[in-house]
Amino acid sequence: MKTTFHGKAYKFGDNIDTDVIAPAMTISFGHADKAEQQDVMIHAFESVRPDFYKEVQPGSILIAGRNFGFGSHREQATTVIRDMGFDILIADSVARLYQRNSIAIGFPVLEVPNISDVVSEGDILDVDLEKWVLTNCTTGKTIDIEPLSEMAIRIISAGGIIGYMRQKLEGENVCRV
């Protein structure tokens, strides 16, 4: 699992829902392929921040308030964050399904209460997932992060739950031999 992140913060408020992140109409005609991913990305966040995908630089950090990603189970709302160039998401709190879906695709999502009070749009952040510390390089502030669960680390380290599943299946085959 990648453990160090350094990048620019893009910040959203509370209750950013999955219809904002990946509008329903963009996900109703895709086949889980590259064309669909591209289509979802173009429309991502458009009701609150049109053309957002054009601004985001690779290696960026997404910061949000309370209950990020609530609403639909749709996985496109999690994969699109990664496709746009974000390496990690940190929010005051994250909706249950969004959190699970992120772990399942191998994308780190952290809940850090009050993160939105200490990070502003455009701040440069350092995140260390070995020491579990976040440093706001712009303000000099440092805050501790609650470590991810062992289960989440195991799955993210396998590249997601499909990678984890392949490891488990390989284990089964070894046992049979």
């Binding site: 329903a24 609150v48 499909i162």
Partner: protein, 418 residues
């Protein structure tokens, strides 16, 4: 120390005597019900390097697939997706597949498959709906369901449980929607974040299964993982209506000394009709705050409020009136059983004659795939969500309310006090 419903089921399915909130467990899954996302479950495996898709399905007696979101398909791409699904049904040998004339997945599930006391997963976020039947159920993404369908198990974090003790009866103009609005207003939509909600007390016992379903569906709107009711005679009677053999099931009740994270008591008799304003279930207002808002489209339907009791409620208000000329009123029954029952009661005729357009059952309306709004339009709906952009384009405003309030607005052409 005793356990809550969620804790007891997670403990039993993990082979443990006791579990505690916050504990991580690998639990056996009793049932998985997937909609069109079945294709994406297969695709998740393929895109993850398993070129043939899932290596196996752990138990074909416990996996169900429906086509409900794109039924009938609205364009060629949706039609092609259906073709792909039908091929996969054959490839995997799925025994329980509902193709044509399906209903909303959750309504079909409670009318046919979901069982009390089971730990079940669905490929749609409102799968917590089945909790109304005492089924410990929740929505999952396709990657996780690929894993669960292969191994018949999945990891869970044991949630804390909030006890919601209900007493009293709903008034003439209120229903469970207003209870959920009340909770969202008082405690925010983060109330249930990663938690289980247990509805209990005389107010919960007095509710019909249909009303309980509204509460359980909206558990996810309050952030919750599960929205559970205890099993009783009403649940048993509801399940007895199924056709064919009903598998054995074991309902689960909380222990008397179960530990709850918190307890909330609500007197249903004190609730007033409320309304969720754009663009969030938490943005709750009283009718007097928004009265006079012009309504271009009114909608009743979905897993939340598309059942016979909801259609009866609409008809009760609409009888003797006509839909306002400014307003389009769309009603989408949640299932064909609901549709047929409403037809037998003469409700469908009445609605049609009053200017309502009745649609075939499905999820289209709730998702904004049918009846999409134009620019700057306002809608009032009894469906599940009013997120920005979900039902329409730029500057659309969507209000959520119970079916009677929706019907009253459709007659007046604007949100109106009752």
């Amino acid at each position: 120390m005793g356990m809550t419903i969620a804790e007891k089921v997670l403990a039993r399915n993990s082979g443990l005597d006791i579990v505690h909130p916050g504990q991580y467990v690998d639990a056996k899954i009793d049932r998985i019900i997937a909609d069109e996302e079945f294709y994406r479950i297969h695709a998740a495996a393929v895109n993850g390097g398993m070129t043939d898709g899932l290596p196996r399905i752990w138990d074909l007696d416990r996996v169900h697939v429906v086509i409900d979101h794109f039924e009938p398909p609205l364009n060629e791409t949706q039609a092609v997706r259906q073709q792909m699904i039908r091929k996969l049904i054959d490839k995997y040998g799925i025994k329980y597949f509902k193709d044509m004339s399906c209903s909303v997945i959750h309504q079909h599930s409670v009318e046919n498959w979901a069982l009390p006391g089971e730990l079940s997963l669905g490929s749609d976020s409102h799968s917590c709906a089945w909790g109304a039947l005492n089924c410990v159920s929740s929505g999952m993404g396709e990657h996780e369901l690929a894993y669960a369908m292969t191994f018949g198990e999945l990891w869970f974090r044991v949630p804390q449980t909030i006890k919601i003790f209900l007493k009293g009866d709903f008034g003439k103009w209120t229903d469970p929607k207003d209870l959920m609005f009340y909770l969202a207003k008082k405690y925010s939509v983060s109330l249930g974040l990663y938690k289980s909600l247990e509805f209990c007390g005389p107010g919960a016992s007095a509710m019909s299964v249909s009303q309980r379903l509204t509460c359980s569906v909206h558990a996810v709107e309050l952030g919750a993982k599960f929205g559970l009711f205890e099993f009783d005679d009403k649940t048993a009677e509801f399940i007895e209506c199924r056709q064919g053999a009903i598998p054995e099931y074991t309902p689960v009740s909380p222990d008397d000394d179960a530990m709850y994270e918190s307890e909330i008591e609500v007197d249903l008799g004190t609730l007033k009709p409320l309304i969720a304003c754009p663009h969030n279930f938490e943005n709750i207002a009283g009718l007097d705050d928004v009265k006079g808002t012009p309504i271009h489209q009114a909608q009743v339907g979905s897993c939340a409020n598309g059942r016979l009791e909801d259609l009866r409620a609409v008809w009760e208000v609409l009888k003797g009136h006509h839909v306002h000329r400014r307003t389009r009123f769309l009603v989408q029954p949640a299932s064909w059983n609901v549709y047929k029952a409403a037809m037998h009661e003469g409700i469908i005729d009445g609605l049609l004659d009053s200017g309502v357009q009745v649609l075939s059952p499905g999820c289209h309306l709730c998702l904004g795939m049918q009846g999409r709004l134009g620019e700057n339009e306002n809608a009032i709906t009894s469906t599940t969500r009013n997120h920005n952009g979900r039902l329409g384009g730029k500057n659309c405003k969507v209000y959520i309310a119970n079916p009677k309030i929706v019907a009253a607005a459709a007659i007046a052409g604007e949100i109106t006090e009752v």
